[in-house]
Symmetry: C2
Subunit: 451 residues, 2 copies
């Protein structure tokens, strides 16, 4: 049955307080769908619904909610309930939620936990946001190298219920370093008497707790693996990051890059849940900065005041010439920034890419120059047509090269190349465009040079 039908049925059952009906529908709903329902209905009904579920399913649904939604529901739980919920959630998600609680609440919850649980939570909660440590889980499966495949499978049966995934299995040496790995698939297909050490792969791709999350996501995508083992600064295995977390990270990174490209700061949670004050704060900075960046274009126009007064028709072509440079530059910058983010191009390719861009931009400029020349002919005669066509070619080339180069320059200045790429390119291209256009006009039309 589709989600919408079940959701309607659930809503109706809640209204008539039909406890059996509610239980029956909850059984049919996927955890992700139940989370969606809880999100739509708000914290009060969430509270009520979650009590119908056993603790592990409750924790499962909880894991699908956004941090702000989790907090909203957590407010109404007492310390004991919240502690149990945290203990049943995936270790990484539990630690994230724990980090959002107030200090007093954190202490109260830790006091109610068993020593081992407490230390696990404390450790996972201690990693900096944005690192592998902050998204890893400590619930992974380890088997000794000297077991047979059959013995290993038996051991996994005993330990698996708590593991986040049992599909990738790790083998440690005496120093708790990763000695090898094998998949559950390999284990199952292997002859039962073969030893793990003969079955495992020795070359293991791993990352450290400090590795940035986007690197982790890239490794998981590159090697098509279900989970990436994470080591402490040294070689000791301390956790794993699973593919589903990598998918979330990749999506969040793409969103962040798109937002940055439009001068919007990093939004936790998205447009829907962001407060008005947050949206204002994340947007105002660059907007004001760009106002001042655009002073240069204005100053350029003011500088050529006499040229404009002599041929006021030039103003008609100003927006379309200047914007064309910005548009071509935004294209180049976007291609570059996304290529860098996906690993398709690297910084060391810049020289080659710039050469290619010069050729492509010349072809684009010539096409657009032709288009605008006919317009210029019609509106201002042959002289103006020549001026606008020449300007267009040059402006598009200059804009494109700026767009191609700015991401590299930002990277050199230790800034994210995605930062404000398109609007910043546009502002710089605008100012250059004004100078190119009126410079060419002054020369071709034989006007006195200003100043």
């Amino acid at each position: 049955m589709s989600y919408n039908i079940l959701a309607d049925a659930l809503r109706a059952a809640m209204v008539r307080q039909d406890r059996d009906g509610i239980r029956h529908i909850l059984n049919e709903l996927q955890p992700a769908d139940l989370a969606e329902f809880v999100r739509q209905e708000g914290a009060a009904s969430a509270q009520q619904l979650l009590t119908y579920l056993p603790m592990d399913e409750r924790a499962d649904v909880f894991g699908y909610l956004e941090p702000d939604e989790q907090l909203e529901i957590a407010k109404d739980l007492d310390d004991l309930q919240l502690g149990q919920l945290l203990a049943h959630m995936n270790a990484d998600e539990g630690a994230d939620l724990f980090n959002l609680l107030e200090q007093a609440r954190q202490d109260a919850i830790l006091r109610g936990m068993a020593k081992e649980e407490r230390e696990d939570l404390r450790r996972l909660a201690s990693y900096a946001e944005g690192t592998a440590g902050a998204i890893m889980t400590s619930d992974y499966v380890v088997v000794p190298a000297d077991l047979t495949a059959r013995e290993a499978l038996d051991q996994i049966r005993l330990t698996a219920p708590d593991a986040e995934t049992i599909y990738q299995i790790y083998v440690l040496d005496e120093q708790q370093r990763i000695a090898g790995t094998l998949s559950l698939r390999e284990l199952i297909l292997a002859p039962p008497h073969r030893r793990i050490e003969e079955l495992m792969t020795h070359e293991v791709v791993s990352a450290s707790v400090d590795t940035p999350q986007e690197e982790v996501a890239k490794l998981i995508a590159r090697y098509d693996i279900l989970a990436l083992p994470i080591t402490n600064g040294g070689d000791r295995l301390v956790g794993i990051v699973t593919y589903d977390d990598a998918m979330d990270v990749a999506e969040a990174e793409a969103t962040e890059d798109m937002h940055k490209g439009a001068t919007i700061g990093k939004l936790e949670g998205g447009l829907r849940s962001a407060s008005l004050a947050t949206l204002y704060r994340k947007r105002v900075g660059w907007l004001v900065l760009l106002v001042f960046a655009n002073i240069f274009s204005g100053a350029g126009i003011a500088y050529f005041e006499e040229t404009i007064e002599a041929y006021i028709v030039l103003v008609f072509f100003l927006p379309l010439l200047v914007d064309s440079g910005g548009n071509a530059g935004s294209q180049a910058a976007t291609l570059m920034v996304r290529g860098l983010a996906t690993g398709d191009v690297r910084f060391r390719d810049w020289g080659k890419l710039l050469g290619r861009e010069l050729l492509v931009a010349s072809a684009l400029g010539l096409t657009m120059g032709l288009a605008v020349a006919t317009l210029g002919m019609f509106r201002g005669g042959p002289d103006i047509a020549l001026v606008v066509a020449l300007s267009m070619v040059l402006i598009v080339i200059v804009g494109s090269l700026i767009g191609m180069s700015l991401p590299f320059l930002l990277n050199r200045m230790k800034l994210d190349p995605a930062t404000a790429s398109a609007p910043l390119v546009t502002s710089i291209a605008d100012a250059s465009g004004v100078l190119v256009y009126f410079g060419i006009a002054t020369a071709v039309l034989g006007l006195p040079t200003p100043g």
Copy 2:
């Protein structure tokens, strides 16, 4: 050992034609890394290296290459070799490569295949690009409902070597419809004598062969599942899409959206491998279109010629005012477009979001109005300060509302909301900005209305 060290060693071993050395290093390299090496070294050494590997590993490495790289190597293989390679590749990747071959080559390869293989390949290759059918594989695991857990595990042991994943297992009824599903984890943890029908989940999330790829990727991410079952138009199971394909789709979709947002058409393969002619074609269309869109701004300026001649200082503020509207609008459009793509917001939320945007944009406009008022005071006195401040507030609000609305409008016109969002918003906001600015100036400064 790291990839770079192994790659250097491999290069050296190839130069001294040390066959044992090559074999040893190939053993240590991950398939994805070997694909990277092959990519860097080119088709000739790829040919040489791949002969060292057994056919299934060769197919594995091949699967990590981009389509154009696969084709390059496929050129040098005879029909028999290529046929074997296709048969050993993952069914979905094999079908993709098959589709890129010339008709004559396709026929030759099909002739050399066993009937079942041939029909499988033909069927998978027949689905339209961009659909679930085009990325699904037919190598999934099915077990009968009446087996015990132990019997099912034994059966999977026999059939698994060919399956793309054995971690999600499907149960079919007599009409080949999906009756249920269970994970390998559930199967392994279950008591050996329990029957599959008691263990399986009846509610199965699925999609059809016609479902767009991005929908499939969203379902896999939403439900955190390893594989999504795909049905033919009716209810019959015909394939599965695995999480790693979903990750690739999500990345490609994000890239496509970013490119579209900067008026770049869909690039197969990325910036690095695109030809100059392709880059030109994918960029020129919108650039020329936007030239004509910007005529309106030029016409607006020309219309207010007398206002400008009376107060030439107004031109100084033109770029920064007009661009501010475009920048604020781009922010709003980008928030909207990305929110729609990730499912964070929906089209039906538009009214509410527009109201919120009005408030945020007013606050942004006031801030930027204040900034520009001091600049106006300094450069043109109190009258000019008033004009530019008022204009800024209004331009930012108008630009933001255009940015928020354009994605909805495009969707209504059955166009992708990501299409050209930022530059199109900028062009429209520019033209509105010119009218607002000079309109306010004419009124406040008591100038005669033009026309």
